[in-house]
């Protein structure tokens, strides 16, 4: 027989194999088969139902606030529980700004990790452990990162914040006396938390680039870094954008760590050294005590905004990562 023992499945066309009907035509068994097929299909549909149910329930609960405040909710900034006037602007602003800081910090670092762990700078046996350790940060519960933020990161970065205030206070984003918790710290904590997402997905995208592109570029005389900048990164750009969007989606919805280090102030401030607030942080702080219908409605309205925001960002990310693979664009 043949000298090379090829695995059986490689000899047969895989796509055609999937069309083979494994269903039994025999009476009794076919009855069980039919029922089983319906059962798994039903359970699979339940996932779609859960997402629809979630959107509908939150939308319905937000109705009182939507009727009362309309779209003006998005750009008014008074949140008073006693007078029952609610405006979402400070929280939307805080959510977007802290996530933007996170993305600005995490994107270059994540790309650096992706490049170092996918290209031939290091021997393979050390490359994947580095990638694994970076990805491990994603596994640490966010409340623990928040605990570390309160007791280690804030005291550690306080001198940095002081320095920024003393020397760069002519820039509007650094023009306030830092008190510890701040928008900047929240952004840095978020950067730490979304770094694994960006690094892992960018790495996968870079590894998926055909080897021919690398060798062709090298044979034209490009150095490794010229190859990275002129060949690899451009062809991986949609995947990298998708990774950034997934990271952004995670940053927008991140709750515990941000709540613990952002300082929870309801004022909009241009200075990043001032405390701020985000939608998830406000939800975490107020939901358990909310009793008035309109207050709960306003919180639900905020949750709905956050839900819609992350849904759009995540869908965009999935499209970018899945459907625009390198080389196909």
């Amino acid at each position: 027989m043949t000298a090379t023992p090829e695995p059986a499945q490689n000899l047969i066309d895989r796509d055609r194999l999937n069309d083979v009907n494994l269903a039994n035509q025999d009476g009794h068994n076919s009855f069980i088969d039919q029922g089983f097929t319906w059962l798994v299909q039903g359970f699979a549909m339940s996932v779609v139902i859960v997402l629809g149910w979630m959107s509908w329930v939150i939308f319905r609960q937000a109705q009182p606030a939507i009727e009362k405040f309309g779209f003006g909710f998005l750009w008014t900034q008074n949140w008073d529980i006693n007078e029952l006037t609610f405006g979402a602007l400070p929280y939307i602003y805080g959510t977007l700004v802290s996530s933007a800081i996170a993305l600005i910090i995490a994107l270059p670092i994540g790309l650096a990790v992706a490049v170092v762990t996918s290209e031939r700078f290091l021997p393979p046996w050390i490359r994947s452990p580095i990638a694994f350790v970076v990805e491990l940060i994603a596994a640490i519960p966010s409340v623990i990162i928040g605990l570390w933020g309160i007791f280690v990161l804030i005291p550690f970065l306080q001198p940095v914040q002081q320095w920024l205030f003393q020397h760069l206070s002519w820039i509007p984003i650094f023009n306030s006396e830092p008190a510890g918790p701040s928008m900047l710290i929240a952004g840095i904590i978020l950067a730490i938390m979304i770094l694994p997402t960006i690094a892992a997905i960018s790495r996968e995208v870079l590894i998926a680039i055909p080897k021919e592109l690398r060798t062709a570029s090298a044979s034209l005389g490009a150095t490794q870094w010229e190859t990275i900048f002129r060949v690899l990164l451009p062809s991986a750009i949609s995947g990298i954008l998708g990774a950034a969007m997934l990271g952004l989606g995670r940053a927008l919805g991140e709750t515990m760590a941000v709540t613990m280090v952002i300082g929870n102030s309801d004022q909009i401030s241009t200075s990043l050294l001032n405390p701020g607030n985000t939608i998830p942080a406000l939800l975490a702080n107020q939901f358990a005590e909310a009793s008035d219908g309109l207050h709960i409605g306003a919180l639900m309205y905020l949750a709905l905004i956050l839900f819609a925001l992350t849904l759009i960002v995540n869908m965009l990310a999935i499209v970018l990562v899945k459907f625009l693979k390198p080389g196909e664009a």
Partner: protein, 294 residues
């Protein structure tokens, strides 16, 4: 053009600018990668430093002592029990639903448009912020039954676990060679028998790994529990009462003004991180071994 001698060409083929660019970028990339490793090491170091001195038997077996009462044994046994019960409820809901959904996606769908939709929804669901899941559970369970409960917490955690279980199980099922399914069918097995006796049996290590990862993730979730299970200073009082959990305990005690509560938060973190890292590293070893065999 400037003349370059042959020896220069041979020994220094690159212009100084290109060499500098290469070296500079390599240095920057390595520095940034080092920076990326720093937070994890700093977090683990701090958890060990603050958590280990207080890791005594009484911490695992007694209730949190009222603040200011020195000499009383103080711990978070109720939070451990609460976390185990709520993650248990979540597993009971999400594992059957998740595994059956994954079976549909991997075995029955044959690239149908419904399967594409479901896969898309699962990915979207995995990206829904955990606080929004908490809001959902609040609206569905807490508002309906007029009270915070362990069941509400478990329900919220099940929604968090569901997409993780589905994606991991589908991956595990996809690794089972088609020839095994054909062989089973050729021996006269029905589809139902093939799935349960052959496919699932072969993919079991992978499925278990995925389920354990989901359990570890659920055990560390705080946001969905804050206003569904709330918190409690007492022992578990039933599925319809507010229930303590390790993660909410860490949150509450982290911002406490009392040093002994801060210490308890660090010790609870040590236990939680221990479980999470153990599961992650173990699953990494299991999956990488499986890839080597294939």
């Amino acid at each position: 053009m400037k003349e370059t001698s042959i020896t220069q060409e041979l020994y220094r083929p690159l212009s100084p600018a290109r060499t500098a660019f290469s070296r500079g970028m390599t240095t920057i990339a390595f520095l940034l990668s080092g920076l990326a490793l720093l937070p994890l090491l700093a977090i683990l170091f701090e958890i060990l430093r603050q958590g280990i001195p207080n890791l005594k038997w009484e911490v695992l077996t007694s209730l949190p002592a009222p603040v200011g009462m020195e000499g009383l044994p103080s711990g978070f046994a109720n939070a451990i029990v609460g976390t185990v019960i709520m993650v248990g409820i979540a597993s009971l809901i999400s594992i059957p639903v998740g595994v059956l959904t994954a079976i549909y996606l991997a075995e029955f769908s044959k690239g149908s448009p419904i399967a594409h939709l479901i896969r898309f929804v699962v990915t979207v669901l995995s990206g829904v912020p955990s606080i929004v899941v908490g809001v959902f559970a609040y609206a569905v369970v807490v508002l309906t039954f007029k009270g915070f409960s362990a069941f509400a917490g478990g329900f919220a955690l099940s929604v968090i676990m569901l997409p993780i279980v589905i994606l991991a199980t589908e991956e595990a099922l996809k690794l089972v060679p088609t020839s095994l399914r054909l062989a089973s069918s050729a021996l006269g097995a029905s589809r139902f028998q093939t799935v349960f006796r052959v496919t699932i049996a072969t993919a079991l290590p992978g499925i278990t790994t995925g389920v354990l990862l989901a359990v570890a993730r659920a055990a560390g979730e705080t946001a969905p529990l804050l206003f569904t299970a709330l918190f409690s200073q007492n022992w578990f009082e039933g599925l319809t009462s507010p229930t303590a959990s390790l993660s909410v305990l860490i949150y509450n005690y982290a911002s406490s003004a009392y040093a002994e509560q801060n210490t308890l938060a660090w010790t609870a973190s040590l236990i939680l991180v221990g479980i999470v890292l153990l599961v992650n590293v173990a699953s990494r070893i299991v999956t990488s071994n499986r890839f080597k065999i294939r």
